[in-house]
Symmetry: C2
Subunit: 225 residues, 2 copies
DNA sequence: GTCACTATCTACAGTAATGTCGATAGCGAA
DNA sequence: TTCGCTATCGACATTACTGTAGATAGTGAC
Protein backbone atom coordinates (compact mmCIF):
# COMPACT_ATOMS: atom_id res chain seq x y z
CA UNK A 1 0.00 0.00 0.00
CA UNK A 2 1.27 3.47 0.83
CA UNK A 3 0.46 4.57 -2.66
CA UNK A 4 0.39 8.17 -1.51
CA UNK A 5 3.79 9.68 -1.95
CA UNK A 6 4.08 10.95 1.53
CA UNK A 7 6.87 13.43 0.99
CA UNK A 8 5.65 14.91 -2.30
CA UNK A 9 2.05 15.12 -1.23
CA UNK A 10 1.31 18.68 -0.44
CA UNK A 11 -1.42 18.77 2.18
CA UNK A 12 -4.57 20.51 1.05
CA UNK A 13 -4.08 21.22 -2.64
CA UNK A 14 -5.98 23.76 -4.67
CA UNK A 15 -9.70 23.80 -4.04
CA UNK A 16 -12.50 25.11 -6.14
CA UNK A 17 -15.13 26.73 -4.03
CA UNK A 18 -18.62 26.66 -5.50
CA UNK A 19 -21.82 28.20 -4.36
CA UNK A 20 -23.92 25.63 -2.49
CA UNK A 21 -26.46 25.68 -5.27
CA UNK A 22 -23.94 25.08 -7.98
CA UNK A 23 -22.23 22.39 -5.97
CA UNK A 24 -25.52 20.58 -5.53
CA UNK A 25 -26.25 20.86 -9.21
CA UNK A 26 -22.89 19.54 -10.28
CA UNK A 27 -23.20 16.67 -7.87
CA UNK A 28 -26.66 15.79 -9.09
CA UNK A 29 -25.50 16.00 -12.69
CA UNK A 30 -22.76 13.52 -12.01
CA UNK A 31 -25.09 11.24 -10.08
CA UNK A 32 -27.59 11.30 -12.91
CA UNK A 33 -24.95 10.32 -15.42
CA UNK A 34 -23.80 7.48 -13.22
CA UNK A 35 -27.30 6.25 -12.77
CA UNK A 36 -28.14 6.36 -16.44
CA UNK A 37 -24.93 4.63 -17.38
CA UNK A 38 -24.61 1.96 -14.79
CA UNK A 39 -27.93 1.33 -13.16
CA UNK A 40 -29.05 1.51 -9.57
CA UNK A 41 -25.98 0.02 -7.98
CA UNK A 42 -23.74 2.53 -9.68
CA UNK A 43 -24.41 5.33 -7.24
CA UNK A 44 -21.25 5.42 -5.21
CA UNK A 45 -20.41 8.51 -3.29
CA UNK A 46 -16.74 8.36 -4.11
CA UNK A 47 -17.28 7.77 -7.80
CA UNK A 48 -19.80 10.54 -8.10
CA UNK A 49 -17.52 12.83 -6.18
CA UNK A 50 -14.65 12.01 -8.50
CA UNK A 51 -16.85 12.69 -11.52
CA UNK A 52 -17.87 16.01 -10.07
CA UNK A 53 -14.30 16.86 -9.22
CA UNK A 54 -14.52 16.88 -5.47
CA UNK A 55 -14.08 14.58 -2.52
CA UNK A 56 -16.92 12.52 -1.19
CA UNK A 57 -17.28 14.22 2.19
CA UNK A 58 -18.35 17.25 0.21
CA UNK A 59 -21.35 15.33 -1.08
CA UNK A 60 -22.24 14.42 2.46
CA UNK A 61 -21.85 17.99 3.50
CA UNK A 62 -24.38 19.10 0.92
CA UNK A 63 -26.86 16.27 1.14
CA UNK A 64 -26.43 14.92 4.62
CA UNK A 65 -26.38 11.33 3.57
CA UNK A 66 -26.42 9.12 0.57
CA UNK A 67 -30.15 8.78 0.96
CA UNK A 68 -30.48 12.54 0.97
CA UNK A 69 -28.62 12.77 -2.29
CA UNK A 70 -30.71 10.10 -3.84
CA UNK A 71 -33.92 11.78 -2.81
CA UNK A 72 -32.73 15.11 -4.08
CA UNK A 73 -31.87 13.48 -7.36
CA UNK A 74 -35.30 11.96 -7.65
CA UNK A 75 -36.96 15.23 -6.82
CA UNK A 76 -35.00 17.24 -9.29
CA UNK A 77 -35.59 14.70 -12.02
CA UNK A 78 -39.29 14.44 -11.43
CA UNK A 79 -39.63 18.17 -11.29
CA UNK A 80 -37.87 18.53 -14.59
CA UNK A 81 -39.95 15.81 -16.13
CA UNK A 82 -43.14 17.35 -14.88
CA UNK A 83 -42.39 20.80 -16.16
CA UNK A 84 -41.27 19.43 -19.51
CA UNK A 85 -44.38 17.34 -19.88
CA UNK A 86 -46.78 20.02 -18.81
CA UNK A 87 -45.11 22.57 -21.05
CA UNK A 88 -45.38 20.21 -23.98
CA UNK A 89 -49.04 19.58 -23.35
CA UNK A 90 -50.01 23.12 -22.53
CA UNK A 91 -48.42 24.49 -25.64
CA UNK A 92 -51.24 25.42 -27.96
CA UNK A 93 -51.22 24.20 -31.51
CA UNK A 94 -53.19 22.28 -34.08
CA UNK A 95 -53.94 18.62 -33.69
CA UNK A 96 -51.28 17.97 -36.23
CA UNK A 97 -48.76 18.81 -33.55
CA UNK A 98 -50.01 16.09 -31.27
CA UNK A 99 -47.68 13.45 -32.67
CA UNK A 100 -44.78 15.78 -32.17
CA UNK A 101 -45.82 16.32 -28.59
CA UNK A 102 -46.07 12.63 -27.93
CA UNK A 103 -42.73 12.08 -29.59
CA UNK A 104 -41.33 14.64 -27.27
CA UNK A 105 -42.73 12.73 -24.32
CA UNK A 106 -41.07 9.59 -25.60
CA UNK A 107 -37.76 11.33 -25.81
CA UNK A 108 -38.06 12.94 -22.42
CA UNK A 109 -38.77 9.65 -20.78
CA UNK A 110 -36.50 7.26 -22.52
CA UNK A 111 -33.53 9.19 -23.78
CA UNK A 112 -32.94 11.29 -20.73
CA UNK A 113 -33.13 8.29 -18.50
CA UNK A 114 -36.09 9.60 -16.57
CA UNK A 115 -37.94 6.36 -16.89
CA UNK A 116 -34.99 4.49 -15.48
CA UNK A 117 -34.82 6.72 -12.49
CA UNK A 118 -38.54 6.52 -11.98
CA UNK A 119 -38.55 2.77 -12.10
CA UNK A 120 -35.53 2.54 -9.92
CA UNK A 121 -37.21 4.65 -7.29
CA UNK A 122 -40.13 2.29 -7.23
CA UNK A 123 -38.00 -0.82 -7.18
CA UNK A 124 -35.83 0.43 -4.39
CA UNK A 125 -38.94 1.16 -2.42
CA UNK A 126 -37.95 4.58 -1.19
CA UNK A 127 -41.03 6.34 -2.36
CA UNK A 128 -42.32 8.60 0.30
CA UNK A 129 -45.76 7.79 1.55
CA UNK A 130 -48.71 9.90 0.66
CA UNK A 131 -49.62 10.89 -2.82
CA UNK A 132 -46.67 10.35 -5.09
CA UNK A 133 -45.29 12.96 -7.38
CA UNK A 134 -46.03 10.63 -10.23
CA UNK A 135 -49.69 10.34 -9.40
CA UNK A 136 -49.99 14.08 -9.10
CA UNK A 137 -48.21 14.63 -12.37
CA UNK A 138 -50.32 12.10 -14.16
CA UNK A 139 -53.47 13.56 -12.72
CA UNK A 140 -52.55 16.98 -13.98
CA UNK A 141 -51.64 15.68 -17.40
CA UNK A 142 -54.95 13.90 -17.62
CA UNK A 143 -56.85 16.97 -16.54
CA UNK A 144 -55.11 19.21 -19.03
CA UNK A 145 -55.52 16.69 -21.75
CA UNK A 146 -59.17 16.28 -21.02
CA UNK A 147 -59.74 20.00 -21.21
CA UNK A 148 -57.91 20.30 -24.50
CA UNK A 149 -59.73 17.35 -25.95
CA UNK A 150 -63.08 18.71 -24.96
CA UNK A 151 -62.50 21.98 -26.75
CA UNK A 152 -60.95 20.19 -29.68
CA UNK A 153 -63.89 17.93 -30.19
CA UNK A 154 -66.27 20.74 -29.61
CA UNK A 155 -64.79 22.47 -32.63
CA UNK A 156 -65.63 19.40 -34.65
CA UNK A 157 -69.10 19.08 -33.29
CA UNK A 158 -68.30 16.00 -31.26
CA UNK A 159 -69.38 15.11 -27.78
CA UNK A 160 -66.83 15.72 -25.04
CA UNK A 161 -64.73 12.63 -24.39
CA UNK A 162 -65.55 10.41 -21.47
CA UNK A 163 -63.37 11.19 -18.53
CA UNK A 164 -62.70 7.54 -17.87
CA UNK A 165 -61.71 6.99 -21.42
CA UNK A 166 -59.24 9.84 -21.31
CA UNK A 167 -57.81 8.62 -18.05
CA UNK A 168 -57.44 5.06 -19.26
CA UNK A 169 -55.79 6.01 -22.50
CA UNK A 170 -53.41 8.33 -20.71
CA UNK A 171 -52.51 5.59 -18.30
CA UNK A 172 -52.08 3.08 -21.07
CA UNK A 173 -49.77 5.40 -22.90
CA UNK A 174 -47.83 6.20 -19.76
CA UNK A 175 -47.32 2.57 -18.86
CA UNK A 176 -46.46 1.60 -22.38
CA UNK A 177 -43.98 4.42 -22.65
CA UNK A 178 -42.34 3.53 -19.39
CA UNK A 179 -42.27 -0.12 -20.36
CA UNK A 180 -40.82 0.65 -23.71
CA UNK A 181 -38.27 3.02 -22.29
CA UNK A 182 -37.01 0.45 -19.83
CA UNK A 183 -37.25 -2.92 -21.50
CA UNK A 184 -37.64 -1.78 -25.07
CA UNK A 185 -33.96 -2.04 -25.82
CA UNK A 186 -34.07 -5.62 -24.68
CA UNK A 187 -36.95 -6.60 -26.87
CA UNK A 188 -37.12 -4.31 -29.85
CA UNK A 189 -33.58 -4.25 -31.11
CA UNK A 190 -33.05 -6.64 -33.97
CA UNK A 191 -35.69 -9.03 -32.76
CA UNK A 192 -37.63 -11.11 -35.17
CA UNK A 193 -40.79 -9.31 -34.21
CA UNK A 194 -40.39 -7.11 -37.20
CA UNK A 195 -41.11 -3.93 -35.32
CA UNK A 196 -38.50 -1.32 -34.66
CA UNK A 197 -38.55 1.19 -31.87
CA UNK A 198 -39.54 4.14 -34.05
CA UNK A 199 -42.20 2.01 -35.63
CA UNK A 200 -43.60 1.00 -32.28
CA UNK A 201 -43.66 4.58 -31.13
CA UNK A 202 -45.33 5.65 -34.30
CA UNK A 203 -48.04 3.07 -33.92
CA UNK A 204 -48.56 3.90 -30.29
CA UNK A 205 -48.92 7.56 -31.12
CA UNK A 206 -51.48 6.73 -33.76
CA UNK A 207 -53.36 4.48 -31.38
CA UNK A 208 -53.51 7.14 -28.72
CA UNK A 209 -54.62 9.80 -31.14
CA UNK A 210 -57.16 7.45 -32.56
CA UNK A 211 -58.65 6.78 -29.18
CA UNK A 212 -58.51 10.33 -27.91
CA UNK A 213 -59.24 12.70 -30.73
CA UNK A 214 -60.35 10.35 -33.44
CA UNK A 215 -57.79 11.92 -35.65
CA UNK A 216 -56.17 8.92 -37.20
CA UNK A 217 -57.54 7.64 -40.48
CA UNK A 218 -60.51 5.47 -39.88
CA UNK A 219 -60.74 6.45 -36.28
CA UNK A 220 -63.01 9.43 -36.51
CA UNK A 221 -66.04 7.38 -37.44
CA UNK A 222 -66.19 5.21 -34.42
CA UNK A 223 -65.99 8.20 -32.16
CA UNK A 224 -69.27 9.52 -33.46
CA UNK A 225 -71.24 6.40 -32.83
CA UNK B 1 -27.52 -8.08 20.16
CA UNK B 2 -25.65 -11.21 21.21
CA UNK B 3 -28.63 -13.27 20.30
CA UNK B 4 -26.37 -16.26 20.07
CA UNK B 5 -26.07 -17.85 23.46
CA UNK B 6 -22.38 -18.22 23.48
CA UNK B 7 -22.08 -20.82 26.19
CA UNK B 8 -25.00 -22.92 25.07
CA UNK B 9 -23.94 -22.79 21.47
CA UNK B 10 -22.78 -26.21 20.60
CA UNK B 11 -20.36 -26.08 17.71
CA UNK B 12 -21.76 -27.56 14.59
CA UNK B 13 -25.39 -27.90 15.47
CA UNK B 14 -27.86 -30.03 13.65
CA UNK B 15 -27.71 -29.65 9.91
CA UNK B 16 -30.31 -30.32 7.35
CA UNK B 17 -28.77 -31.83 4.32
CA UNK B 18 -30.65 -31.16 1.11
CA UNK B 19 -30.13 -32.42 -2.35
CA UNK B 20 -28.24 -29.88 -4.41
CA UNK B 21 -31.29 -29.28 -6.50
CA UNK B 22 -33.54 -28.68 -3.56
CA UNK B 23 -30.98 -26.46 -1.90
CA UNK B 24 -30.74 -24.34 -5.00
CA UNK B 25 -34.47 -24.10 -5.21
CA UNK B 26 -34.91 -23.06 -1.61
CA UNK B 27 -32.20 -20.47 -1.98
CA UNK B 28 -33.74 -19.08 -5.13
CA UNK B 29 -37.15 -18.99 -3.47
CA UNK B 30 -35.78 -16.94 -0.63
CA UNK B 31 -33.90 -14.66 -2.99
CA UNK B 32 -37.02 -14.10 -5.04
CA UNK B 33 -38.99 -13.14 -1.96
CA UNK B 34 -36.30 -10.72 -0.88
CA UNK B 35 -36.16 -9.17 -4.29
CA UNK B 36 -39.89 -8.75 -4.56
CA UNK B 37 -40.13 -7.28 -1.09
CA UNK B 38 -37.17 -4.99 -0.96
CA UNK B 39 -35.97 -4.22 -4.43
CA UNK B 40 -32.65 -4.69 -6.11
CA UNK B 41 -30.47 -3.71 -3.18
CA UNK B 42 -32.14 -6.29 -0.98
CA UNK B 43 -30.19 -9.24 -2.26
CA UNK B 44 -27.80 -9.91 0.57
CA UNK B 45 -26.25 -13.30 0.85
CA UNK B 46 -26.57 -13.47 4.60
CA UNK B 47 -30.19 -12.39 4.66
CA UNK B 48 -31.17 -14.79 1.95
CA UNK B 49 -29.29 -17.54 3.70
CA UNK B 50 -31.09 -16.78 6.95
CA UNK B 51 -34.44 -16.85 5.16
CA UNK B 52 -33.60 -20.17 3.63
CA UNK B 53 -32.41 -21.53 6.95
CA UNK B 54 -28.75 -21.98 6.18
CA UNK B 55 -25.49 -20.11 6.39
CA UNK B 56 -24.32 -17.90 3.63
CA UNK B 57 -21.28 -19.91 2.55
CA UNK B 58 -23.74 -22.55 1.51
CA UNK B 59 -25.13 -20.18 -1.08
CA UNK B 60 -21.64 -19.59 -2.37
CA UNK B 61 -21.06 -23.29 -2.48
CA UNK B 62 -24.07 -23.78 -4.70
CA UNK B 63 -23.81 -20.75 -6.90
CA UNK B 64 -20.14 -19.88 -6.83
CA UNK B 65 -20.68 -16.21 -6.28
CA UNK B 66 -23.34 -13.66 -5.69
CA UNK B 67 -23.40 -12.94 -9.40
CA UNK B 68 -23.93 -16.62 -10.08
CA UNK B 69 -26.91 -16.66 -7.77
CA UNK B 70 -28.35 -13.59 -9.36
CA UNK B 71 -28.00 -15.01 -12.83
CA UNK B 72 -29.51 -18.29 -11.79
CA UNK B 73 -32.41 -16.40 -10.28
CA UNK B 74 -32.96 -14.48 -13.47
CA UNK B 75 -32.80 -17.62 -15.53
CA UNK B 76 -35.21 -19.56 -13.39
CA UNK B 77 -37.63 -16.69 -13.28
CA UNK B 78 -37.62 -16.13 -16.99
CA UNK B 79 -37.92 -19.81 -17.67
CA UNK B 80 -40.89 -20.08 -15.37
CA UNK B 81 -42.48 -17.04 -16.85
CA UNK B 82 -41.98 -18.34 -20.34
CA UNK B 83 -43.43 -21.73 -19.65
CA UNK B 84 -46.36 -20.26 -17.78
CA UNK B 85 -47.10 -17.84 -20.56
CA UNK B 86 -46.75 -20.33 -23.33
CA UNK B 87 -48.86 -22.86 -21.50
CA UNK B 88 -51.55 -20.29 -20.96
CA UNK B 89 -51.55 -19.33 -24.58
CA UNK B 90 -51.26 -22.82 -25.98
CA UNK B 91 -54.10 -24.12 -23.90
CA UNK B 92 -57.03 -24.63 -26.23
CA UNK B 93 -60.36 -23.17 -25.31
CA UNK B 94 -63.05 -20.83 -26.44
CA UNK B 95 -62.38 -17.18 -26.95
CA UNK B 96 -64.26 -16.57 -23.77
CA UNK B 97 -61.25 -17.86 -21.89
CA UNK B 98 -59.02 -15.21 -23.37
CA UNK B 99 -59.70 -12.71 -20.59
CA UNK B 100 -58.85 -15.34 -18.03
CA UNK B 101 -55.61 -16.03 -19.83
CA UNK B 102 -54.68 -12.39 -19.92
CA UNK B 103 -55.58 -12.03 -16.28
CA UNK B 104 -53.25 -14.88 -15.60
CA UNK B 105 -50.51 -13.05 -17.41
CA UNK B 106 -51.14 -10.03 -15.27
CA UNK B 107 -50.84 -12.06 -12.14
CA UNK B 108 -47.74 -13.86 -13.26
CA UNK B 109 -45.99 -10.64 -14.04
CA UNK B 110 -47.03 -8.37 -11.28
CA UNK B 111 -47.87 -10.47 -8.27
CA UNK B 112 -44.99 -12.84 -8.49
CA UNK B 113 -42.59 -10.00 -8.94
CA UNK B 114 -41.39 -11.21 -12.29
CA UNK B 115 -41.71 -7.79 -13.79
CA UNK B 116 -39.61 -6.35 -11.02
CA UNK B 117 -36.90 -8.85 -11.61
CA UNK B 118 -37.05 -8.30 -15.32
CA UNK B 119 -36.79 -4.57 -14.99
CA UNK B 120 -34.09 -4.85 -12.43
CA UNK B 121 -32.03 -6.99 -14.76
CA UNK B 122 -32.26 -4.36 -17.42
CA UNK B 123 -31.48 -1.50 -15.08
CA UNK B 124 -28.49 -3.23 -13.61
CA UNK B 125 -27.23 -3.82 -17.10
CA UNK B 126 -26.23 -7.42 -16.67
CA UNK B 127 -28.14 -8.71 -19.61
CA UNK B 128 -25.99 -11.00 -21.65
CA UNK B 129 -25.35 -9.92 -25.17
CA UNK B 130 -26.98 -11.61 -28.07
CA UNK B 131 -30.64 -12.26 -28.35
CA UNK B 132 -32.25 -11.83 -24.97
CA UNK B 133 -34.49 -14.39 -23.36
CA UNK B 134 -37.18 -11.78 -23.35
CA UNK B 135 -37.04 -11.17 -27.06
CA UNK B 136 -37.17 -14.88 -27.73
CA UNK B 137 -40.09 -15.34 -25.41
CA UNK B 138 -41.99 -12.48 -26.91
CA UNK B 139 -41.31 -13.74 -30.37
CA UNK B 140 -42.68 -17.13 -29.49
CA UNK B 141 -45.73 -15.67 -27.81
CA UNK B 142 -46.43 -13.56 -30.84
CA UNK B 143 -46.00 -16.50 -33.18
CA UNK B 144 -48.30 -18.72 -31.17
CA UNK B 145 -50.82 -15.99 -30.79
CA UNK B 146 -50.79 -15.27 -34.47
CA UNK B 147 -51.43 -18.89 -35.28
CA UNK B 148 -54.30 -19.14 -32.84
CA UNK B 149 -55.82 -15.94 -34.09
CA UNK B 150 -55.62 -17.03 -37.66
CA UNK B 151 -57.55 -20.22 -37.01
CA UNK B 152 -59.97 -18.40 -34.74
CA UNK B 153 -60.84 -15.83 -37.31
CA UNK B 154 -60.94 -18.42 -40.01
CA UNK B 155 -63.77 -20.08 -38.09
CA UNK B 156 -65.63 -16.82 -38.23
CA UNK B 157 -64.97 -16.26 -41.87
CA UNK B 158 -62.56 -13.42 -41.23
CA UNK B 159 -59.27 -12.65 -42.90
CA UNK B 160 -56.15 -13.68 -41.04
CA UNK B 161 -54.83 -10.89 -38.88
CA UNK B 162 -51.94 -8.80 -40.06
CA UNK B 163 -48.71 -10.00 -38.60
CA UNK B 164 -47.59 -6.51 -37.78
CA UNK B 165 -50.82 -5.79 -36.04
CA UNK B 166 -50.50 -8.86 -33.88
CA UNK B 167 -46.93 -8.04 -33.05
CA UNK B 168 -47.70 -4.46 -32.17
CA UNK B 169 -50.63 -5.32 -29.97
CA UNK B 170 -48.63 -7.97 -28.19
CA UNK B 171 -45.84 -5.53 -27.59
CA UNK B 172 -48.20 -2.87 -26.42
CA UNK B 173 -49.77 -5.25 -23.96
CA UNK B 174 -46.40 -6.47 -22.79
CA UNK B 175 -45.07 -2.99 -22.18
CA UNK B 176 -48.25 -1.84 -20.55
CA UNK B 177 -48.30 -4.85 -18.28
CA UNK B 178 -44.70 -4.37 -17.28
CA UNK B 179 -45.29 -0.68 -16.73
CA UNK B 180 -48.37 -1.31 -14.70
CA UNK B 181 -46.70 -4.02 -12.68
CA UNK B 182 -43.81 -1.79 -11.75
CA UNK B 183 -45.15 1.71 -11.38
CA UNK B 184 -48.83 0.90 -11.13
CA UNK B 185 -48.82 0.86 -7.37
CA UNK B 186 -47.39 4.33 -7.39
CA UNK B 187 -49.98 5.76 -9.69
CA UNK B 188 -53.14 3.74 -9.44
CA UNK B 189 -53.68 3.46 -5.74
CA UNK B 190 -56.11 6.01 -4.46
CA UNK B 191 -55.24 8.53 -7.08
CA UNK B 192 -57.76 10.99 -8.33
CA UNK B 193 -57.61 9.43 -11.74
CA UNK B 194 -60.67 7.44 -10.92
CA UNK B 195 -59.28 4.19 -12.26
CA UNK B 196 -58.38 1.28 -10.05
CA UNK B 197 -55.90 -1.42 -10.86
CA UNK B 198 -58.51 -4.08 -11.61
CA UNK B 199 -60.38 -1.60 -13.72
CA UNK B 200 -57.29 -0.72 -15.68
CA UNK B 201 -56.51 -4.35 -16.26
CA UNK B 202 -60.04 -5.01 -17.33
CA UNK B 203 -59.96 -2.23 -19.83
CA UNK B 204 -56.59 -3.30 -21.14
CA UNK B 205 -57.82 -6.84 -21.60
CA UNK B 206 -60.82 -5.58 -23.51
CA UNK B 207 -58.65 -3.35 -25.64
CA UNK B 208 -56.33 -6.19 -26.54
CA UNK B 209 -59.17 -8.55 -27.33
CA UNK B 210 -60.84 -5.86 -29.35
CA UNK B 211 -57.77 -5.31 -31.44
CA UNK B 212 -56.83 -8.94 -31.83
CA UNK B 213 -59.95 -11.03 -32.16
CA UNK B 214 -62.61 -8.39 -32.48
CA UNK B 215 -64.39 -10.11 -29.67
CA UNK B 216 -65.30 -7.19 -27.49
CA UNK B 217 -68.69 -5.60 -27.96
CA UNK B 218 -68.56 -3.24 -30.86
CA UNK B 219 -65.19 -4.45 -31.91
CA UNK B 220 -66.16 -7.22 -34.28
CA UNK B 221 -67.56 -4.87 -36.86
CA UNK B 222 -64.43 -2.94 -37.54
CA UNK B 223 -62.58 -6.14 -38.14
CA UNK B 224 -64.74 -7.00 -41.10
CA UNK B 225 -64.28 -3.76 -42.87
C1' DG C 1 -20.86 -51.08 9.65
C1' DT C 2 -17.49 -48.60 6.94
C1' DC C 3 -16.28 -45.38 3.70
C1' DA C 4 -16.36 -41.75 0.39
C1' DC C 5 -18.56 -37.81 -0.98
C1' DT C 6 -20.10 -33.39 -0.30
C1' DA C 7 -23.52 -30.20 1.77
C1' DT C 8 -23.02 -27.51 5.53
C1' DC C 9 -20.99 -25.14 9.29
C1' DT C 10 -17.92 -21.60 12.07
C1' DA C 11 -14.45 -18.36 11.83
C1' DC C 12 -11.97 -15.22 9.51
C1' DA C 13 -9.90 -12.39 5.69
C1' DG C 14 -10.34 -8.77 2.49
C1' DT C 15 -12.58 -5.12 0.55
C1' DA C 16 -15.42 -1.39 -0.05
C1' DA C 17 -18.83 1.97 1.09
C1' DT C 18 -20.90 5.33 4.15
C1' DG C 19 -20.21 8.54 7.46
C1' DT C 20 -17.29 11.42 11.09
C1' DC C 21 -13.68 14.72 12.55
C1' DG C 22 -10.74 18.23 12.70
C1' DA C 23 -8.01 21.17 9.79
C1' DT C 24 -7.69 24.30 5.94
C1' DA C 25 -8.59 27.56 2.31
C1' DG C 26 -11.49 30.42 -0.63
C1' DC C 27 -14.35 34.43 -0.56
C1' DG C 28 -17.25 38.16 0.78
C1' DA C 29 -17.84 41.74 4.29
C1' DA C 30 -16.31 45.06 7.52
C1' DT D 1 -6.07 43.91 5.49
C1' DT D 2 -8.46 41.25 8.66
C1' DC D 3 -12.06 38.38 10.02
C1' DG D 4 -15.74 35.07 9.89
C1' DC D 5 -18.20 31.80 7.51
C1' DT D 6 -18.33 27.53 5.37
C1' DA D 7 -17.20 24.66 1.31
C1' DT D 8 -13.74 21.50 0.90
C1' DC D 9 -10.26 18.25 2.12
C1' DG D 10 -7.40 14.14 4.09
C1' DA D 11 -7.52 10.66 7.36
C1' DC D 12 -9.91 7.57 9.90
C1' DA D 13 -13.83 4.91 12.12
C1' DT D 14 -17.39 1.83 11.41
C1' DT D 15 -19.92 -1.30 9.40
C1' DA D 16 -21.37 -4.56 6.20
C1' DC D 17 -20.92 -7.65 2.58
C1' DT D 18 -18.61 -11.04 -0.35
C1' DG D 19 -15.67 -14.66 -0.49
C1' DT D 20 -12.15 -18.31 1.65
C1' DA D 21 -10.47 -22.14 4.62
C1' DG D 22 -10.73 -25.87 7.19
C1' DA D 23 -13.55 -28.78 9.99
C1' DT D 24 -17.75 -31.49 10.46
C1' DA D 25 -21.78 -34.19 9.72
C1' DG D 26 -25.50 -36.24 6.81
C1' DT D 27 -26.33 -39.81 3.40
C1' DG D 28 -26.02 -43.25 0.05
C1' DA D 29 -23.09 -47.16 -1.67
C1' DC D 30 -20.75 -51.20 -0.70
Amino acid sequence: METQQREQRRPYGRRRRRSPEQARNEILDAAERRLAAGGPEAIRLKEIAADAGMSHPTLLHHFGSRQGLVEALAQRTMRGLASDLLAAIHSPGPVASAPATLDRVFQILSEAGHARLLVWRVLAGWTQSGKSMEATLLGEVTKTLHARLTSLRHQRGLDPPSRDETAFTTLLAAFAIVGEAVVGSLVLNESELGISRPEFRDRLVRLVLDRLVGDAPGGADELVS
